[in-house]
C-alpha cells in the first residue's frame, strides 16, 4: 500500500478562451494526513478538486488516487472518497436523514437497521440529530455545512476532500467544523482547501500553497512556520545592552543581531548558523553581563500568514 493517497503530476486545466486555471501542478498527499490546500480566491483550488473527482478533465498531466487514474478510473476513485463542496447543494425536498440514506446507498447495501445506525452516528457526529427529519430547504448555512460533512464521511472514506469547509461559517461554526475534522483524522486522510490561514495552522500537518494555478510551496506545516534560512531567536532585554550586543554579534555561529527599541528596553533578533549551539549557549552568554536583564527569550515562530504573504509576494516578484 502506497504512502500517498494523491499523486498529481503536471496537472493542468486550461479553459476555452485561454484561461489557465491550473498550470502543471505536482502534488503528493500522504496517507492519514490533514492536508491544507491553501491559496487566494481564484488560485485553482476548486479546479484541482474537480479534476481529482472526475468532474472536469485535465488538459495536461494526470492525477492518481489510491493507484487509480482520476480520469480513467473515476468510479473506483469515487468509491473511496467523501466530498464536501464549497457551497453544498442537496435535494431540498429531502430531509437530512433521507439525504444521508441516499448518499450511503451509493456505497453500501445491507440490512436497513445497519444503514439507519450508520445514519444516526453521522447525524450525532455533526450535531444534527434533532433536525434529522426536517426538509433541507429550511437549513441555515451552518447546518448545510454540517450535513455536508456528515454525507462526506458516512461511507467511511479513505480520503475526505473538503472544499472550503469553514468559509461560510461564523466563528462558532468554524470551531465546530475544525473539531469534527480533528475527530475524523484518526480514520481518514483529509485534503481540504481554504483561504483561512488560522484554520490551517490549527489543524493541518502538511500544507500546499497555490497561486495563479501554480504550486508555490508544499511542506509540513512545522517546516513552513520555522521559515527558511537562518533560525532566529527573539530576545527582549532591559539594561545596558550595547556592550553585550557587540559581544554576541562577534560570535562565530551568530549571523546577525538586529536591535530595535521597545518600551522600557530593546528587542533583539539574533540570526544564527547553528541553532543547537544557540539553544545551549545564547541565553547564558547574554546573562553573563550583570547590567542586562532578559524579559523573554525564544525562537521566532512565523505565523502562517507571514509565510503565505512572503511566498505569494516572492512568486509575484
Amino acid at each position: 500500500m502506497s504512502d500517498f493517497v494523491i499523486r498529481a503530476s503536471g496537472l493542468s486545466k486550461r479553459y476555452k478562451g485561454g484561461v489557465t486555471a491550473l498550470d502543471g501542478l505536482d502534488l503528493q498527499v500522504r496517507r492519514n494526513s490533514i492536508f491544507g490546500f491553501l491559496g487566494p480566491n481564484g488560485a485553482g483550488k476548486t479546479t484541482t478538486i474537480k479534476l481529482l473527482l472526475g468532474l472536469a478533465r485535465p488538459t495536461a498531466g494526470s492525477a492518481n488516487l489510491f493507484g487509480f487514474d482520476a480520469e480513467r478510473d473515476t468510479l473506483e476513485v469515487r468509491r473511496r472518497i467523501g466530498y464536501l463542496a464549497q457551497d453544498p447543494r442537496y435535494y431540498d425536498e429531502m430531509t437530512a436523514r433521507q439525504t444521508l440514506r441516499f448518499t450511503l446507498k451509493f456505497f453500501f447495501e445491507g440490512p436497513r437497521p445497519e444503514i439507519e445506525r450508520r445514519i444516526e452516528e453521522s447525524l450525532e457526529l455533526v450535531g444534527l440529530s434533532d433536525k434529522a427529519d426536517r426538509p433541507i430547504r429550511g437549513f441555515s448555512g451552518g447546518e448545510r455545512q454540517r450535513l455536508g460533512i456528515a454525507q462526506a464521511q458516512i461511507s467511511g472514506p479513505e480520503l475526505l476532500i473538503l472544499d472550503e469547509p469553514a468559509a461560510s461559517l461564523d466563528p462558532m461554526g468554524r470551531r465546530d467544523v475544525l473539531e469534527i475534522m480533528n475527530k475524523l483524522r484518526a480514520h481518514t486522510t483529509i485534503f481540504y482547501s481554504t483561504h483561512i490561514l488560522d484554520d490551517v495552522q490549527r489543524v493541518s500537518d502538511t500544507v500546499a500553497i497555490l497561486n495563479h494555478g501554480k504550486l508555490v510551496a508544499q511542506a509540513p506545516i512545522e517546516e513552513l512556520l520555522a521559515g527558511s534560512g537562518h533560525v532566529t531567536f527573539v530576545i527582549d532585554l532591559q539594561g545596558t545592552v550595547e556592550r553585550v550586543q557587540d559581544r554576541i554579534a562577534a560570535l562565530s555561529w551568530v549571523a546577525s543581531v538586529e536591535s530595535e527599541a521597545v518600551e522600557g528596553g530593546a528587542r533583539w533578533a539574533v540570526a544564527v548558523h547553528d541553532d543547537a549551539l544557540a539553544d545551549e549557549q545564547l541565553l547564558r552568554l547574554i546573562l553573563q553581563d550583570d547590567g542586562v536583564r532578559v524579559r523573554s527569550f525564544g525562537r521566532r515562530r512565523y505565523q502562517l500568514e507571514d509565510v503565505f504573504m512572503n511566498l505569494l509576494e516572492g512568486a509575484a516578484a
Partner: protein
C-alpha cells in the same frame, strides 16, 4: 449482518439508487396525487361536456367522440405535461449544483441520465395515461353504457405512450445542451408545433418517419378506422428516434464538465 459494498459496476453503478430517488420524487411526495387528480379531471371534464352537450346521440357515436377527444387531449395536454416535467431534469440539477454533488458519488453519468429517463417515463405515463385511461373507461361506461374495443383502445394508448416517450427523451436530451429550462421547453414544444405546420409541406414518407402523425393515428386505431399510412412506421420510427435521442443525451452528458 453488516453493510457490504454496493456491487453494481460498469454503467449500472449507482443506477438503482438514483432510480429509487427519481421514483421517490414522484411517489413518495404529493406529486403523484396532484397528477392522479389532474389528468383524469382534464380528460373527464371534456368527455362529460360531450355527453352533457347532446344526450340524444347514440351511445356508439358518443363513445366515438369521447375516444377522439381522449386521444387528442392526451396528445396535447399530456405532451405539454411531459415537456414541463422533464425540462428541468438535467438543466435544473446542473444549475442547482446537485448534479455535480451526486456525481462525486459512485454513480456513472449514464446511470444518472437513464435513471431520470426511466423514472420520469414510468411515473408520467402511469399517471397521465395508464391510470386516466382506466378512469376514463369507467366514466364512459357510466355515461354511454358501453366502452370501445379494449384491444384497439389499448393499442392506441400504446401508440400515444410511444409519442410521449419520444417527447420525454427529446426534452431530456435538450436538457444536456441548453443552460436554461426555457430553452429546453421552447425547443421541445417548437418541434411539436412544427409537426402541426410542416407535414403538409413535406413528403409523406418523411412525415411518416417522425412522431408527428401519432396523435392523429391513435384515435383512428382505437376506433379501427382506416389510416392513411402504415401505423407501425411512425410508431417504430418514433421509438428509434427516442433511442437516438437518449444515445445523444448520454454522449453529451458524458462530456459535460462541472
Amino acid at each position: 449482518m453488516s453493510l457490504v459494498p454496493a456491487v453494481a459496476s460498469g454503467w449500472r453503478a449507482g443506477f438503482g439508487n438514483a432510480l429509487d430517488k427519481e421514483l421517490g420524487s414522484w411517489w413518495r411526495t404529493r406529486r403523484w396525487l396532484i397528477h392522479l387528480v389532474m389528468w383524469p379531471l382534464i380528460v373527464g371534464f371534456f368527455c362529460f361536456m360531450v355527453w352533457a352537450d347532446d344526450r340524444s346521440r347514440t351511445p356508439a357515436n358518443g363513445v366515438n367522440e369521447s375516444v377522439q377527444l381522449f386521444f387528442q387531449l392526451g396528445g396535447f395536454f399530456a405532451l405539454i405535461g411531459a415537456v414541463l416535467v422533464t425540462q428541468g431534469a438535467i438543466v435544473g440539477e446542473r444549475r442547482s449544483g446537485t448534479a455535480a454533488w451526486v456525481l462525486t458519488k459512485p454513480l456513472t453519468r449514464n446511470a444518472f441520465v437513464l435513471a431520470k429517463l426511466v423514472g420520469i417515463t414510468f411515473s408520467f405515463l402511469m399517471l397521465s395515461l395508464v391510470i386516466p385511461s382506466l378512469v376514463w373507461l369507467v366514466q364512459i361506461k357510466l355515461q354511454w353504457g358501453q366502452i370501445p374495443s379494449l384491444d384497439h383502445f389499448y393499442e392506441a394508448v400504446g401508440i400515444l405512450a410511444i409519442h410521449q416517450f419520444f417527447f420525454i427523451a427529446l426534452t431530456l436530451t435538450l436538457g444536456t445542451f441548453f443552460q436554461h429550462r426555457a430553452g429546453v421547453a421552447g425547443a421541445a414544444l417548437g418541434f411539436w408545433i412544427a409537426g402541426r405546420i410542416l407535414p403538409g409541406q413535406l413528403p409523406q414518407w418523411l412525415v411518416a418517419l417522425t412522431p408527428w402523425p401519432l396523435v392523429d393515428l391513435a384515435p383512428a386505431v382505437a376506433l379501427w378506422r382506416p389510416v392513411p399510412i402504415q401505423v407501425w412506421i411512425p410508431t417504430l420510427a418514433s421509438a428509434v428516434l427516442a433511442v437516438v435521442c437518449v444515445a445523444i443525451a448520454l454522449w453529451r452528458f458524458g462530456r459535460e464538465e462541472f
